[in-house]
């Protein structure tokens, strides 16, 4: 690839990054407006200020002799001053900009009751420590699904009309049932009935002592969630990829390649797969984005300690700051996913470079 091409890709990437950032900011702003219609965002910040002020008063030697009532009065006064200093007595339109700035900088306030595993009450810490686990599970799921559907689609398009091909076509309506729903049945079969796989969670307690043992143990816990998403997606995505390949394999240049006597492998890879890649990447992107959404409920079903689990725990304890925080993080995650996929798209689709 020439320098020229790389420069073009980078400029394209930068443009997309700015566009996506603006879009994410608007999405977060909408979230704030919706959440604050019930006064929740204002309350999150007021609680945080009140807690800081109360701490300061408690450690302040100059107010030691005061009664509780007097202390309370001082606290109220200081909270009001602090709110005014931060501009929180302004009308909502100005306040919302303040909230937006905080959310964009991931300054999400303190949780009302939840704590992170490290003991922090900052919403940012609670959420960020769980993201790697969500990414681990759902990139595994998406990658396994993507490549197996690709492989199966290609094979089916070559053996078009065979028994397996017809079977996949007939089973494709099963893909309307989402992964987490299959998860319920899988838990029922493999845990409640056969007792061979754990019903959920991330690792056994206590965890195995060796590193290899730990990895295998986590993998064992991942079998059911991965399997549930695999069952849910494989039929329809193999079917639609087969259709892509069928359409592309009737092109004239494929016929020419066949006439030249090129081996099947080369034809598949160079003449069918390559041109079909952009639309396939698009479907991959959509799958990845929908997996982020599906993550919430899948993690709740399988007790996987990721982002979705944080959200469901926050719902259970009605922890408003965490709920708003998770929504904000999700906007960022979606933005980042779209950006990365745009980059991959730019790499494989020559039209972007020209």
């Amino acid at each position: 690839m020439k320098i020229e091409g790389i420069k073009k890709i980078l400029i394209y990437f930068l443009k997309r990054a700015i566009a996506i950032f603006i879009t994410v900011a608007i999405a977060i702003y909408l979230t704030i407006v919706i959440a604050n219609a019930g006064g929740y965002v204002d309350k999150i910040i007021e609680d945080e200020i009140r807690m800081n002020v109360a701490m300061a008063i408690r450690n302040d030697p100059s107010v030691r002799g005061f009664t509780d009532e007097q202390k309370q009065k001082i606290i109220e006064n200081r909270v009001r001053n602090e709110m005014r200093r931060r501009g929180l007595d302004q009308p909502f339109i100005i306040r919302s900009i303040y909230h937006l700035k905080r959310a964009l900088l991931l300054d999400l306030g303190t949780a009302s009751s939840m704590t992170s595993d490290s003991g922090s009450m900052l919403v940012k810490n609670i959420i960020l420590e769980r993201i790697p686990l969500s990414i681990l599970l759902f990139t595994t799921i998406t990658i396994i699904n993507f490549f197996s559907a690709l492989y199966l689609g290609l094979k089916l398009s070559r053996r078009y009309g065979s028994f397996l091909d017809k079977l996949i076509v007939y089973l494709s309506p099963l893909s309307t049932i989402p992964g987490w729903f299959y998860g319920i049945f899988l838990i029922m079969i493999f845990y409640s009935w056969l007792h061979i796989l754990p019903p959920g969670g991330f690792i056994d307690f206590p965890p195995p002592p060796t590193l290899l043992g730990k990895i295998l143990n986590v993998a064992k816990h991942m079998i059911l969630p991965v399997l549930s998403w695999f069952i849910s997606s494989i039929f329809l995505s193999a079917y639609s990829e087969r259709n892509f390949f069928l359409i592309y394999s009737t092109e004239d240049y494929v016929e020419v390649a066949k006439a030249k006597g090129l081996p099947d492998k080369v034809i598949e890879r160079r003449y069918i797969l390559r041109p079909a890649l952009p639309p396939i990447i698009t479907s991959f992107a959509l799958a990845l984005i929908s997996s982020w959404m599906g993550a919430i409920v899948t993690e709740a079903v399988f007790n996987w300690p990721g982002l979705g689990m944080v959200l469901s725990r926050a719902i259970g304890t009605f922890d408003a700051p965490v709920i708003v925080g998770v929504t904000v993080i999700y906007a960022y995650l979606l933005g980042a996913t779209v950006l990365i996929l745009d980059f991959i798209y730019a790499l494989i689709d020559p039209r972007v470079r020209i």
């Binding site: 996506i20 999405a27 919706i34 494709s172 309506p173 409640s192 409920v297 719902i315």
Partner: protein, 460 residues
């Protein structure tokens, strides 16, 4: 996609006739017909409001067994599982006149293979000053007469929970000790004490007798006794942890789910269609705004937002439907539909309409939308299950109105009460199966219609 696709047009009637030519189409229509007929029957036999009230009334189901499995499922277990035994028409003997003491004797022929789940005695008496005092005896096939409890009624309506009395458990442990000659090496539950065989600890089939001696405070006092031995099977669908028969929730929940899915899918698709047509037809800044909004909507964290809104604002399911529609009107469907509009725009009949001076509105609503409607219908139908599952997701997170009986709600309650761990599979499977049936039928129907309106797929 080429212009050829838009030259063949179908009427709704034509599509329907075509569907009947496919086996899968007939299958899905049949499933809908069955489910809808069942719901109509339910709604005609009891109005929805009343059913909902009954569903949430904890007192209404006291005489039903808790967590009982469906009758048909018990058939597969190969055992004769107990049903509820309502003891009625006792033999009355007057033991003494002053004070007034009456002995009520019930004979029980117990022939089931498993122990009952509970044993409650419902009392309803009228008294002048002092409530009646009851002595409850149990006579087992061995001929032993055991005093279970001596109790005074606490109010004019009272329930004795025989299965929950620790003192009775103690009595049976003593009884076993005496019979066996040593302290029993196994735990004695009350049900084992009542219906168990002393040697095998299995159920002892035979005739049991319940004797209740009631000593009244005054001669004019009366009492109505209603002992119930609760079974482990009930009805066509079983019962849940609050003793509610599940068929009630399923029958009344299915139409709600259907209406939610259908309403969401239909309104979202139609609004998107109109927006896409306007965007494609007018172009310029209108197009630009709609396209940018679509891009913003694609990055909106839809599910967390839905959860946040329904949690913060405590919406009912129908208010939530409106929120859902607002949150999805600028969905990704607009992009594909707009592409179709751009193709239709160039067709000769639109040119013709323009030349004779048809208004923009007329062209959009009468000429373009009807043309791109058929290819959109399959997507509409296929996306219905997604909204039914959305309802289930929101129920699973417990953010929906808890009084509304929906399929998702039943699954959530089963989860919350450990149905998967305690082995009450029917509780999860029944509502899940209805959802699966709905989802698969909609998908099949959508695929069939897709094949009809997009004839190119027939060849592939």
């Amino acid at each position: 996609m080429d212009n050829m696709e838009f030259t063949s047009s179908y009427s709704i009637k034509g599509i329907f006739r075509e569907i009947l030519r496919y086996k899968t189409g007939v299958f899905s229509l049949l499933i809908f017909a069955i489910l809808i007929l069942m719901s109509i029957y339910a709604y005609l036999s009891m109005p929805y409001e009343k059913a909902k009230e009954l569903w949430n009334d904890s007192q209404a189901w006291l005489k039903y067994p808790r967590n009982a499995i469906p009758t048909w499922l018990a058939f597969f277990s190969g055992k004769n599982l107990p049903k509820n035994i309502y003891l009625k028409e006792p033999k009355e003997e007057i033991i003494s006149d002053n004070p007034k003491v009456i002995r009520y004797t019930y004979n029980i022929d117990y022939t089931y293979d498993d122990f009952p789940s509970e044993f409650n005695i419902f009392l309803n008496s009228s008294f002048k000053e002092n409530p009646p005092n009851l002595k409850i005896y149990w006579i087992n096939p061995y001929g032993d007469r055991i005093l279970l409890a001596e109790k005074t009624q606490r109010a004019d309506k009272d329930i004795f929970y025989i299965g929950n009395e620790f003192s009775i458990e103690q009595k049976f442990t003593d009884y076993y000790k005496e019979k066996l000659g040593f302290y029993p090496t196994f735990p004695i539950t009350i049900m084992k004490g009542l219906f168990g065989d002393i040697e095998t600890q299995q159920v002892k089939k035979g005739t049991y007798r319940l004797e209740i001696e009631v000593q009244f405070g005054d001669k004019s006092d009366t009492i109505q006794i209603e002992p119930i031995i609760y079974g482990k099977v009930y009805g066509v669908a079983g019962t849940d942890h609050l003793r509610r028969p599940l068929e009630l929730g399923i029958l009344y929940g299915t139409p709600i789910d259907l209406a939610f899915g259908l309403g969401a899918s239909l309104s979202i698709t139609i609004i998107q269609l109109i927006l896409a047509t306007i965007s494609g037809w007018y172009g310029g800044w209108v197009d630009n705004i709609i396209q940018r909004l679509t891009e913003i909507y694609m990055l909106l964290p839809f599910l967390p937002l839905m959860i946040m809104i329904s949690l913060f604002y405590k919406l009912t399911i129908w208010q939530l439907l409106i929120v859902l529609i607002i949150l999805s009107i600028f969905g990704s469907g607009i992009k594909t539909q707009r592409a179709m509009v751009l193709q239709v725009k160039t067709l000769p009949y639109i040119e013709a309409a323009k030349t004779y001076g048809a208004s923009n509105m007329r062209i959009v609503f009468l000429y373009i939308i009807p043309k791109i409607l058929p290819p959109v219908i399959p997507g509409l139908i296929i996306s219905i299950p997604a909204y039914i599952f959305l309802e289930a997701i929101l129920s699973l997170f417990g953010v929906l109105d808890p009084t509304e009986p929906t399929l998702g709600r039943i699954i959530e309650e089963a989860f919350q009460n450990g149905a998967l761990y305690k082995g009450f599979y029917y509780w999860v499977i029944e509502p899940s199966l209805i959802i699966v049936l709905l989802a698969v039928s909609f998908a099949l129907l959508g695929f069939v219609i897709d094949r009809i309106v997009n004839p190119r797929l027939k060849e592939v």
